[in-house]
């Protein structure tokens, strides 16, 4: 369980990114966080694994306080939390497999990492993670040779290789085209449904948010202004989250492709 208790983040320079956030996210939930850019979505998600430290209040993951964890405790905590990013954050000059193996860094002995000799079990784990996102045939290709959508799926595999219980996704589809966005969102949905991981996704497209978010949290100026199910969130709710009327830019605008269509055709 993830708990935010009166959590605030003030960046050096005085920008208040989170203000007194109180939240409880149960194990196995699929949560989408929406809000304009600058509303504090990235800060909120990074507070969970301590990439951003809360400056007030507390964030607890499975009862353990993130801001008060020692370096070693924080690393142990992070190893159980997978994360993907808007810019994929792959090492482009190395192979897909090496990138996925980065998910094993916490468990791997330092000398093995230095020599690049990972245990066979870890390689197997990485390969299975690549199979899950259906990109295993690219295992020995340089990451720079992949398309954006493929890179994001490699990033998902890297996070899966950690065998985490929580999966964070910070604007995972913001640099992708609409069809690829749906592919990645479906992957996240499957991770939640099939593997039972808690998934927290930042999005700014309201149609994607409504489609995939079983629970929807609206942020505005660092404050939680909505917390409810995806069905409850109608246009007026989004207008209150965004603080303005909606425009065409707020929707991805492409319906999810029907997965069964290809199989139905003779």
């Amino acid at each position: 369980m993830i708990e935010f208790a009166n959590a605030s983040v003030t960046y050096p320079g005085g920008v208040k990114a989170l203000r007194d956030v109180d939240l409880k996210i149960d194990d196995g939930e699929m949560v989408v966080i929406v809000g304009l850019s600058g509303a504090g979505k990235s800060t909120l998600i990074r507070a969970v694994n301590g990439l951003v430290k809360v400056t007030g209040g507390d964030v607890r993951v499975d009862g353990e306080s993130v801001p008060n964890a020692s370096d070693a405790e924080l690393r142990a905590l992070r190893s159980k939390i997978g994360m993907i990013f808007q810019g994929f954050n792959l090492v482009k000059r190395t192979s897909v497999l090496n990138n996925v193996l980065m998910g094993r860094l916490y468990e791997t002995a330092t000398w093995r990492t230095l020599l690049g000799r990972y245990p066979a079990a870890d390689v197997e784990l990485a390969m299975r993670a690549l199979e899950r996102v259906e990109i295993v045939e690219k295992a020995y290709v340089r990451a720079s040779n992949l398309s954006g959508g493929q890179q994001q799926r490699v990033a998902i595999a890297r996070a899966l290789a950690q065998e985490p219980t929580i999966f964070l996704a910070d604007e995972p589809v913001a640099s992708l085209d609409p069809p690829t966005s749906h592919v990645v969102m479906r992957d996240l949905q499957r991770i939640n449904h099939e593997l039972g991981m808690t998934v927290i996704v930042n999005l700014h497209f309201l149609d994607l948010a409504r489609m995939y978010g079983e629970r929807l949290i609206g942020l505005r100026d660092g404050e939680v202004v909505f917390d409810g199910s995806g069905e409850e969130a109608d246009e007026s709710v989004f207008e209150s989250i965004y603080g303005r009327s909606l425009t065409a830019d707020d929707v991805l605008g492409e319906p999810a492709p029907d997965e069964d269509a290809a199989e139905v055709a003779p």
């Binding site: 694994n49 990439l51 924080l74 690393r75 142990a76 905590l77 992070r78 190893s79 939390i81 997978g82 994360m83 990013f85 810019g87 994929f88 954050n89 792959l90 090492v91 482009k92 000059r93 190395t94 090496n98 193996l101 980065m102 998910g103 860094l105 916490y106 791997t108 330092t110 990492t113 230095l114 690049g116 990033a155 890297r158 996070a159 950690q162 964070l168």
Partner: protein, 276 residues
């Protein structure tokens, strides 16, 4: 209706600003400094020296030395092979050792990978000290400490390479894409693991290019280091010079030139491939 027609009031074109009078002052200052440096106020005394040369003509001894330099003594070519190999070995080993150590130092000298301000400040100050001492000075220090010979030259090259390569590489690390670092942190990686997996692959081509560049410098430097007793071809050069065998000095210089030229050619070709 043309574009210049009235009706739309175009904003007035600005007049070209006057050049600052400071430029004349700057030229004047540079000219004055040059004149002062060449005058008899300094030890060079270039002006009076030139005046004397014009009055008396070029001294015989100078002409004789130039004659000798222009006709290298090819008969001793065979005798220069061993010292030359010594110099080459010094350059190769110096590059390998120096660049390996520089790799470690560089990670400690970048804010991204150092892991703590104290370590960063410590590494950087050690690097400054190493770099502020010229390679020839290092050679002199080691010649006094461990005696004349190639080991002193080697040690000098190692320190010199750490200074140069660690500096260049740490600046490359500073400019690396930090996305993968964030990913490594999020996965709970330790400081060594994240440096190895998220940073090293990104800077590897640069590192190899810097190492080749270091080798290039080493070939040249190892010739000079011999002059202070650090072995190799430079020591032979010093020996001939002390005996005023300028035709032999000239041969060694020609050899060094050819050798340095070839290494540079090789290094440039390889480096171009690396950074492509």
């Amino acid at each position: 209706m043309s574009a210049t027609d009235a009706g739309t009031v175009a904003p007035q074109r600005p007049t070209k600003p006057r050049p600052s009078p400071m430029r004349y002052v700057a030229v004047g200052v540079v000219a004055l400094l040059t004149w002062l440096a060449a005058s008899d106020l300094t030890g060079i005394g270039l002006v009076s020296r030139l005046q004397r040369t014009f009055a008396d003509g070029i001294p015989d001894r100078t002409a004789e030395i130039f004659d000798q330099i222009l006709s290298p003594d090819w008969s001793i070519l065979g005798a220069t092979v061993d010292p030359f190999l010594e110099t080459l070995a010094m350059a190769v080993l110096g590059t390998l050792l120096g660049c390996s150590l520089a790799l470690l130092v560089a990670f400690g000298a970048s804010a991204i990978t150092a892991g703590g301000r104290k370590r960063l400040a410590g590494t950087r100050s050690i690097m400054s000290v190493i770099r502020s001492v010229p390679d020839v000075m290092w050679a002199l220090v080691f010649v006094s400490a461990v005696g004349t010979g190639t080991i002193s030259g080697l040690l000098a090259l190692v320190l010199f390479n750490i200074g140069v390569v660690a500096k260049l590489l740490s600046e490359t690390i500073d400019a690396v894409d930090t996305g993968p670092l964030e990913a490594a942190d999020a996965a709970g990686a330790g400081i060594i693991a994240r440096a190895r997996t998220a940073v090293f692959p990104q800077v590897l081509p640069n590192y190899l290019a810097f190492s080749l560049y270091a080798f290039e410098i080493n070939v040249r430097a190892s010739a000079v280091l011999g002059l202070v007793g650090a072995g190799g071809i430079g020591q032979l050069l010093l020996f001939f010079r002390n005996r005023f065998d300028y035709d032999r000095v000239s041969l060694v210089v020609v050899e060094i030139f050819v050798f340095v030229f070839l290494t540079e050619l090789l290094s440039i070709t390889l480096r171009r491939r690396l950074t492509e």
